[in-house]
Structures are given as C-alpha cells and as structure tokens.
C-alpha cells in the first residue's frame, strides 16, 4: 500500500462559550493536544466566531467556534476524530480536506474580526434570522 503523504485539513471546532471564555488558553491547548495525537503540523488556529446556535447542542444555546488549519497524514484523521469524540469539552467538529487553500484564504478575516471592524450599530443580521427583504426573487408563475 503506497503512502498518500500529508494533506492540508481545515477543522472547525465547536466548544462551550463558558469554557472558552473561562480558560481560552486551556481550550486552545486542548485542541493542540488533540491534533498532536495525529502528529499534525498546525498552520493556524484562531477563534472563528462566538454565536447563538441554530439549535441546542448538548443543552447549550451558545457556542464558540475555533478554526484550525493543519497538515497531517491522511490515515491519522480517524485517530484525531476518535480523540475528539472522547473529549467532553469539544461539542462538534468538522474536518475537511482543503488542498487548494492558499495562505491568503487561511488568513481571511473571520466574522468576529469583521464585527469588531464595523462601527457600533451597523452590525449585520445575526445568523438564524431571515433577512427582511426576500433574497431570491419570486419565480414567475407558470401560466
């Protein structure tokens, strides 16, 4: 069996806001520890957003999302996923392959950064609430 080698992955972790706010460094360290199980070479790790969840997960209504990019061997993904499943602090995770991702894409401003950049009172519509005007124009009637 030939080795595929290392690939770049993107992972979005969902953790409880209370835990993340109380011990941010500990949360990041936990994620780094989990990724180190798969000998991952971490490219970037940062807070993506902190928002109200669309539905309750583990009895929690709010969550903090942490976005990580790392390079890892393909066979180690299952090891990392198992370690995440055993962790009680990480509520959800989505690991995707992102081979075409450039450094510029990785450094794109996250929603939380964009919200901080915007002046107060001009924030966008929060997620989960439909915009006031219809986004898709009404289709013409078949008659």
């Amino acid at each position: 069996m030939g080795t595929i080698g290392k690939r770049v992955y993107e992972a979005l972790f969902l953790v409880d806001t209370a835990i993340a706010a109380a011990d941010w460094d500990g949360t990041i360290k936990l994620i780094e520890t989990v990724l180190s199980r798969g000998d991952a070479e971490i490219l970037s790790i940062r807070k993506w957003d902190e928002r109200k969840l669309a539905y309750d997960i583990d009895g929690k209504g709010r969550g903090t999302y942490i976005l990580a990019y790392f390079r890892m061997e393909t066979q180690k993904v299952t090891v990392v996923e198992r370690a995440i499943r055993l962790s009680e602090k990480i509520m959800r995770v989505m690991i995707l392959r992102t081979d075409r991702m450039t450094q510029a894409d990785m450094d794109k401003p996250t929603p939380i950064v964009l919200a901080e950049m915007q002046p107060a009172g001009t924030e966008g519509v929060p997620a989960g609430i439909a915009p006031s005007e219809p986004a898709v124009p009404a289709a013409p009637s078949p008659n």
Partner: protein, 85 residues
C-alpha cells in the same frame, strides 16, 4: 402566374427590459467552492422554515445546487443553520 413572396415578418418578442439570467449566481461569479461557513450566502437559499429552495426557485444549476446542498448540511451539523424552524 407568379406569386410574390411576402417579406417575412418576424414576431416581435415581448421584452420586459430585464434580461433573463443564463447562468446561476455561483457560475456567474465563477465560485468554485461553496463554503459551509459562509452563512449569509447560504441563508439566502433557505426558506423561513429552514428548508432549501428548489433549483427552480433559487436559479442554481445542478452542480451548484448539489454544492449548496452539501454546504447547508455541513452548516446544519455545526449548528450554524437550523434543520427546521
């Protein structure tokens, strides 16, 4: 007796002034990958009840509709979008 050929009168098409879109919104902007984290874009393709708009309604091509479907399902799993409201 020779018949004189009448000049062909083309039917005037009803034009509203708005040109019909020939491509879907993602193909027009040459978007290759639809990100599941791009919630404002995905939100526009959902009904108020959180259901995915049909291709007829959204105007997406088959390929892009499939990409949208996967992106929405990933976002739902992560709690970014609702399964139903």
């Amino acid at each position: 007796m020779a018949f004189k050929k009448k000049p062909v009168q083309r039917k005037k098409r009803f034009t509203t002034g708005i040109r019909e879109q020939s491509q879907c919104r993602f193909c027009r902007e040459k978007i290759d990958y639809i990100d599941y984290k791009d919630i404002p874009t995905l939100q526009k393709l959902l009904t108020n009840r959180g259901k995915i708009f049909s291709r007829k309604r959204s105007g997406n091509c088959a390929s892009c509709q499939r990409k949208v479907k996967f992106a929405i399902k990933r976002a739902r799993f992560m709690g970014l979008l609702p399964y139903s409201l």
